[in-house]
């Protein structure tokens, strides 16, 4: 089990995000977190990422708590995509993506050609090949979002925690990004244990076919706003209702008209004859 949460209670000030949440995310699984604005999706995700402490309960990453793992080991296991994109100082796209390699580098080490290859492959898989030397501040909102996702891929974590990964993305790149993470998790190869702190040589971030078998399979939890994407690209869904209640389970079981209407406070209807991006 990559991620385990037990009896997790999370609050923002007086607002209860969830209470007594039990969550198990195995390798190869994708979880969608759905809920209205301000319900605490990002807060829960940051809690799962170990960036803020829960009010109660326990989170285990690969069987160990964040305290046991230590901050640097945790960074090799889980990656977190935040919503904020601020770069007050100029830097290139490649430099930005290379920051994802930080947890894999020793204190005095400089990024090697392997690290640069990993970063370039990540950029390529996000459709940003050729933009390596562009200044990050000159990129459009969607391009910056993809550069941030590429940074996360360069980190090569086993658990991806994505806060609105589709923000600023056009339809084409929304699908491409969801497909990308679907591919990452679908790779149910037997897990090959990496030496702690070491680097396994890989042909690319998402790898060609040859590297598939050598990669550990990963799990993804992402905050989404479109229940259709959750249905199509995720195995499980966690609905946060805003009153501290939650529902979690396989998408086919929890995503229905009644629960989604209650979730968004707006009546929904299920139809077959709609335009769905293929």
């Amino acid at each position: 089990m990559i991620l385990q949460a037990r009896a997790l209670t999370v609050s923002i000030g007086p607002h209860r995000v969830c209470a007594g949440l039990d969550l198990d995310l195995a390798a190869g699984e994708r979880l969608a977190i759905l809920g209205r604005n301000g319900v605490g999706k990002s807060t829960l995700l940051a809690t799962l990422a170990g960036l803020r402490a829960p009010d109660a309960g326990e989170i285990r990453l690969d069987g160990r708590t964040y305290a046991e793992l230590g901050i640097k080991t945790a960074a090799r296991l889980r990656g977190w995509l935040g919503q904020e994109r601020g770069d007050p100082f100029a830097s290139t796209v490649l430099e930005t993506v290379l920051t994802g390699r930080h947890p894999h580098l020793d204190r005095w080490a400089w990024e090697s050609s392997i690290d640069k290859d990993i970063a370039r492959a990540a950029l390529q898989s996000l459709g940003l090949a050729g933009m390596e030397e562009r200044a990050i501040q000159t990129l459009s909102g969607g391009e910056r979002q993809r550069a941030a996702i590429a940074t996360l891929l360069a980190q090569q974590p086993r658990l991806y925690l994505l806060d609105e990964p589709l923000a600023h993305l056009d339809l084409n790149h929304q699908i491409a990004t969801l497909e990308l993470f679907a591919q990452e998790t679908r790779r149910a190869a037997p897990s090959v244990s990496r030496p702690p702190g070491g680097r396994t040589p890989q042909s690319g971030v998402l790898g060609g076919e040859s590297s598939c078998a050598r990669r550990e399979s990963v799990a993804v939890a992402m905050v989404l706003h479109d229940p259709n994407f959750a249905l199509r690209f995720c195995d499980r869904a966690l609905l946060l209702f805003g009153d501290g209640c939650h529902v979690e389970g396989p998408v086919a079981a929890v995503l229905d008209v009644d629960s989604l209407s209650r979730l968004y406070g707006h009546p929904l209807r299920r139809v077959e004859n709609v335009f769905i991006p293929e």
Partner: protein, 326 residues
């Protein structure tokens, strides 16, 4: 992204620049000394120029280099800590505290080491006050820290103005010189150089983590940086560097703001290269500015802070208008 080899090349060039600036500072003045004689005097030859070079010019040049390096380093660190390109070493009120201490000492009739001691105590007091008020567990937001610092600096400014108003006529000149930054009083340079070496030695191992901190605290935390610890460390290194520089030479302006920006434009924003580079560039710039300050209207000496500001203001405005277009 500089490779390690390019980084070493850049640093080697800056070391040459530093040595050249020191050589100019030792050779130029009311009594010009030939470069050969300078080297001879440094090597210990008992030439007539020895007293001028070794006893008068060398301490001042080294003090200028140390202060310039300290201010530039503190400025670069503050800009990362506050994630604000407009931050400088004085933005958190440290020079204000030092100013209150130094002017208070002058008001009491102290001189030399007394002024230095008082200004250092004032700088430390301002540093701890800001740190405490901004919730000094490292969990502060940049805005909170910045606002606390700015308000403390404003308070210190008011006290400085009060002291200037109350001070007797004959002391005003010295006070104004101190406030504008002045290296002519700098005699003991060993402690300042030691602080410079220490500050760089403490900051450099964390350079790559500073790169991440500059991009945002939460992301840095997610990538394995102990953000609260790092922030406290950066705060204290930058504050001590500023306190040491201000104690040695008063509030020399603009080095801490301009030099990190100039160096960033030339070599990018990788702190592993930027931090040592700003030390060398800041040191060289202040040595050259001070050499100008004591020669252009010789025998009169200008406060070096006036020169760095006169050079710094147009350069900075130019950079600002350029970055606005980019």
């Amino acid at each position: 992204m500089p490779t390690r080899r390019r980084a070493l090349l850049v640093l080697a060039l800056l070391v040459l620049l530093s040595m050249a600036s020191l050589a100019v500072a030792l050779a130029v003045g009311s009594v010009p000394v030939a470069l050969g004689e300078v080297l001879g005097a440094l090597a210990g030859a008992d030439t007539p120029a020895r007293q001028i070079v070794v006893d008068l010019r060398l301490p001042r040049a080294l003090a200028g280099f140390a202060c310039g390096g300290l201010l530039a380093l503190a400025g670069a660190l503050m800009q990362v800590l506050l994630r604000n390109p407009l931050a400088d070493p004085y933005v958190l009120g440290i020079s204000g505290g030092a100013g209150v201490g130094a002017l208070g000492a002058m008001l009491l009739g102290l001189a030399g080491i007394g002024i230095a001691g008082f200004s250092f105590v004032g700088a430390l007091a301002a540093m701890l006050l800001v740190f405490g008020l901004a919730h000094g567990d490292g969990s502060w937001t940049q805005t909170r820290l910045l606002l606390t610092g700015v308000v403390v600096a404003a308070g210190c400014g008011a006290v400085v103005a009060l002291i200037l108003t109350l001070a007797p006529e004959q002391k005003i000149h010295g006070m104004l010189f101190w406030l504008m930054g002045d290296l002519s009083q700098a005699t003991t340079v060993a402690p300042t150089l030691a602080v410079l070496a220490l500050a760089l030695a403490v900051a450099l191992p964390f350079a790559r983590e500073l790169n991440l901190l500059a991009r945002g605290a939460e992301q840095a935390l997610a990538l394995g940086v102990s953000v609260p610890t790092l922030r406290r460390l950066v705060y204290f290194v930058a504050a001590l560097a500023t306190a040491a520089a201000v104690t040695t030479a008063g509030s020399i302006g603009f080095i801490g703001l301009i030099v990190p920006h100039l160096v960033r434009l030339a070599i990018g924003n990788d702190q592993r290269l930027l931090l040592p580079a700003v030390v060398l560039a800041g040191g060289s710039l202040l040595v050259l500015a001070d050499t100008l300050a004591r020669t252009i209207v010789a025998p009169l000496q200008l406060p070096v802070g006036v020169l760095t500001a006169l050079i710094g203001v147009p350069v900075f405005l130019y950079l600002l208008s350029r970055s606005a277009k980019a």
